[in-house]
Symmetry: C2
Subunit: 145 residues, 2 copies
DNA sequence: ATAATCCCTATTATTTCAATAGGATTAGTA
DNA sequence: TACTAATCCTATTGAAATAATAGGGATTAT
């Protein structure tokens, strides 16, 4: 499995936040704050687990938090400017299809020169990244994909 | 990680077999038999682990075995007719990027209808399969990729 | 003050991965 | 026939990653 529940939940969270922001009709950007409790219930995810995922997204700059009562999270930028690739990079780390890809590409693998398979894995990695970089949260939300 | 060492080693093995068959200049198809011991040494893989991987490829119909002394394995069909996708399907099982993909696609997920992300994961899965289905052992061997 | 929320560190249960172990079976060869 | 080198088969294990869980601390609106 390339993408664990962590990345899957993170994406669900981003979509949920985008959805809730959309629903809010008023002009106050602060009122689009959504609590993890609400997301956890809607998406059926453990609240405590979700907290650790939200922390990653927050540190990664994809969401912003408001602490204290009535606090919560909101998207740090418009849904059409956030790609699935960004969300995965922050929560899953590398999406390299094989483990040696990162080190081999860095020239740390002594066999990289003669390795027949490396170029193929690199190409696959590029294909995946290209696809995920082309899909935004907005695309998913509006069922454009 | 999408592809474990099992799939990686399996591909290395297929390439090794193709390479050795190429090297054999005689007409006797049986003489292209390559022992796992030789592959394990060349590819630096544990022999015992390789045995279990070769068993999968054998049952999957990608290689053929000859038992007893001077036995070994050989490709079941020409290298240009074996794709990386086949090798991965046999050794890794599903390459579904997220765990729910297989069950959701089978209509076993009660939420699949309203699931916004399912189409995206399905598309990613298709993109990966399309790429790997387009690469043959021969392509890799001749550095065409 | 209180309650609701985010924030932080540590621990644990489960599963998967990667390999190891120990033989049984088969076939070529002296 | 005995010997050897190979595939074949089942079970076990050690290590790592995954997916939570636990217990609180800090912050803020009311």
């Amino acid at each position: 499995m390339m993408i664990s529940t962590k990345g899957k939940y993170a994406l669900q969270t981003m979509i949920d936040l985008a959805q809730q922001a959309q629903m809010c009709a008023c002009e106050d950007t602060e009122c689009t704050c959504v609590s993890l409790k609400a997301i956890a219930e809607r998406q059926n995810i453990s609240l405590k687990y979700l907290e650790s995922i939200a922390a990653l997204l927050n540190r990664g700059g994809l969401i912003k938090s408001t602490r204290g009562k009535d606090g919560g999270y909101r998207l740090a930028k418009p849904a059409e400017e956030i790609t699935v690739a960004e969300v995965m990079a922050i929560t899953e780390g590398s999406l390299a299809p094989v483990s040696c890809l990162d080190t081999c590409s860095d020239g740390q693998c002594v066999h990289a020169d003669g390795c027949l398979t490396l170029p193929m894995w690199q190409k696959l990695d590029a294909v995946i990244d290209e696809f995920l970089s082309g899909v935004t949260i907005r695309d998913i939300l509006e069922r454009r994909i």
